[in-house]
Symmetry: C2
Subunit: 419 residues, 2 copies
């Protein structure tokens, strides 16, 4: 399946950044900002403001950004003509009177975004509208230890089926995957639990097959973007997404942008050391955070303490059993959330993001579990004056956040807010 007609107005990404290429060829570490880049930046920021604040009138946007109303008109008008944005019904005017404002927001019928969530054994694909709406979810399974060609066939088939629901060519495809990802080169470096994915140049494969822009990033980063887009991180400039489950991971939103180290590294929190010479970890080192705050630890402890069905213990069950009066469950929940807290404490001492969104197993324990974690963090951190630490769970639901985040990856790679 090939999409022919690329929308001429690809989300503020008008001209390919040939200057960047030229500059990077000679290894320049400095790039000046050109006028046209300035336009793209400001277009991106206006869209960002719309995501952060919901539908807003031109005048509101101007006030929000501290710029002239005419500037906003200039930025917004072409996007309305391209049918990326739409004017809503006139809002009732203020108490003081005046011409009623016409709120602007994303056109639900604008091209959508393709999203793929790749976890060991399962594929999920869907379309995401610019309004955040999720459509045409398709699921499939694959053998994590199987044949590479078979996997690629399954993936393209699933994605083709999903994309066929779109009326027009999507802006691009975003992929979120477990494991270690090189997002710069679009390659899956390694997934311990799904060797078939190891070394897969997925971006090239999908780009060729669908003739669409494709971006890939690792799972926690997709969760982060999903949180930022329509979740608890909405409008925030600094926060982290933390994933707990069979493994631990994290991703950071720093000063208004997603943190990505070289080749898309960063956030491999599972293997930070919290116990020098502690238990051995999957990675071969000792005392990683993952050895005391992931599900394998929880199962082992549940078994040791004689809790019922330790093999299928989760934070959610632990919260429930503790509420039902089990002292043992309560005690274990306390130790579990404390161990989870240590990783967050170390992150807090390092970056002081002050805001953390939990995903995965601990998030399954809901607000109760999050509050326990928060209390441990508060106790364990060196507080600065008037500093509030917020720890929340994303109520939207794991899969949807990751898929939306995968879609958001495409957006953020196009609205280069970074300069």
């Amino acid at each position: 399946m090939k999409f022919e007609s690329q929308p001429s107005y690809s989300l503020g990404h008008r001209t390919p950044a040939r200057r960047e290429a030229a500059a990077s060829e000679i290894g320049a570490n400095v790039t000046l900002v050109s006028q046209s880049a300035l336009g793209a930046i400001n277009r991106g920021r206006v869209l960002q403001a719309l995501y952060d604040n919901g539908p807003k009138s031109r005048a509101d946007l101007a006030r929000l950004a501290g710029v002239n109303r005419t500037t906003i008109t200039g930025i917004v008008q072409p996007m309305i003509e391209e049918q990326l944005l739409v004017e809503g019904d006139a809002a009732p005017s203020d108490v003081k009177g005046g011409k009623p404002a016409r709120p602007l927001y994303f056109n639900p019928d604008a091209p959508m975004l393709g999203a793929v969530l790749l976890l060991p054994g399962t594929i999920q694909a869907c379309l995401v509208a610019l309004t955040g709406e999720i459509r045409a979810v398709t699921k499939a399974e694959f053998d994590p230890f199987g044949d590479r060609q078979a996997f690629i066939a399954t993936l393209t088939k699933t994605l083709t089926s999903t994309l066929s629901h779109a009326h027009q060519a999507p802006f691009g495809i975003g992929v979120a995957s477990g494991g270690m990802i090189d997002s710069d080169n679009g390659v899956i470096l390694a997934v311990n639990l799904a060797p078939v994915l190891t070394g897969l140049p997925l971006v090239n494969i999908l780009q060729e097959h669908f003739s669409l822009p494709v971006v890939i990033d690792h799972h926690p980063r997709a969760l982060l973007v999903g949180d930022r887009w329509f979740g608890p991180g909405r409008g925030q400039q600094n926060f982290a997404a933390i994933y707990t489950g069979e493994v631990l991971g994290g991703a950071f939103f720093i000063d208004g942008k997603v943190y990505r180290g070289l080749a898309g590294s960063g956030g491999e929190l599972g293997h930070t050391v919290v116990q020098i010479d502690g238990e051995i970890c999957n990675c071969g080192k000792h005392g990683c955070w993952e050895t005391v705050a992931a599900l394998p630890w929880l199962r082992k402890e549940a078994a040791r303490l004689g809790l019922p069905q330790p093999g299928s213990i989760t934070c959610a069950r632990l919260v429930k059993e503790a509420e039902d009066g089990s002292k043992a469950a309560d005690a274990l929940l306390d130790r579990y959330t404390r161990n989870v807290a240590f990783g967050i404490v170390n992150l807090q001492q390092t970056l002081f993001l002050n805001s953390y969104v939990l995903h995965g197993d601990v998030a399954g324990g809901g607000a109760k579990a999050a509050e326990r974690v928060r209390q441990h963090v508060e106790r364990l951190v060196v507080k600065r004056p008037s500093q509030e630490i917020s720890i929340t769970v994303n109520g939207i639901g794991e899969g949807h956040t990751a898929l939306r985040g995968a879609a958001g990856l495409v957006l953020s790679s196009h609205l280069k807010v970074v300069i």
Copy 2:
């Protein structure tokens, strides 16, 4: 002492950013970039390129930044007229011939920067030229537990003496201080070892006294800026400065800018946990990195192992004794550098900066100590393909790096590369 004539060309900071103020008043989280801001940004980047690469011709700068030569001329000409930059002698032309290039660099006679280093009990002040040269160093002492007015008098007297060596009004004064600093509001929040400084609104005091722009930040951040300016971090886009000594701290240069959390927080690495329920720390928590990698730990272990003069043990001495054949010193050095490595490992797993500059006690151990730390880090980190970790010491010398960094703080607060 009051300086009257502010240079009209304050390092690319032409107009006060009144828009930012307007936008922040209504709590906007989005700011559009204006034309004049763009000019300031690009001016800043050209200066940055000069710092990173040394004297360069207009044509070289244009190539480095990937822009037109005429653009560089437009940026650079006013700065030459303001005598901020000077044209050097014509360089011999290339093998292929052509008009010889005229390298540009900072005018040694341009206004300088005032710098202050404030550590418990001691004050150091100096002038720093835009070329990095340090002049008119003045030192003084103060009673860490003494009277606040007395301290302020000593500080202003010292600084006045230093500043009197300048021919013209400096661009501003940068202060680096130990302890916890609120750099947004210019207040020293707390210094455990010097209570007289606690709660001191130093920026206001100095600004009023000298009528100059004043910035303050904590010690590791000054080291970072010093490293970046003329040290091992020169030209780098991502690295961290790590300070070890009586306490531990760090600061990060991320994606080409100094990382500062809310109110100048961030980098309080000493109190990240590396040993859950480990030894108790000064901060009241258990198992902080500081409990196993700072000088108190080293002294305690040296005493326990019966090393000579454990009370004055340092990394430098340990390296020397190990070289002289002491097995005990060698073993302790290995444990010490390993413990130091754990903090760096955790930082590496979190941000993947790949490059670390050591300061303080471990830096006193020179390249040998750094190499030991590097080997431990290599062993303890989960490596990504083709990832090199560099750990260096700054050979320029502690005090000078911090002073130069303090001066650099003024520069970087004026060449707002951040958008």
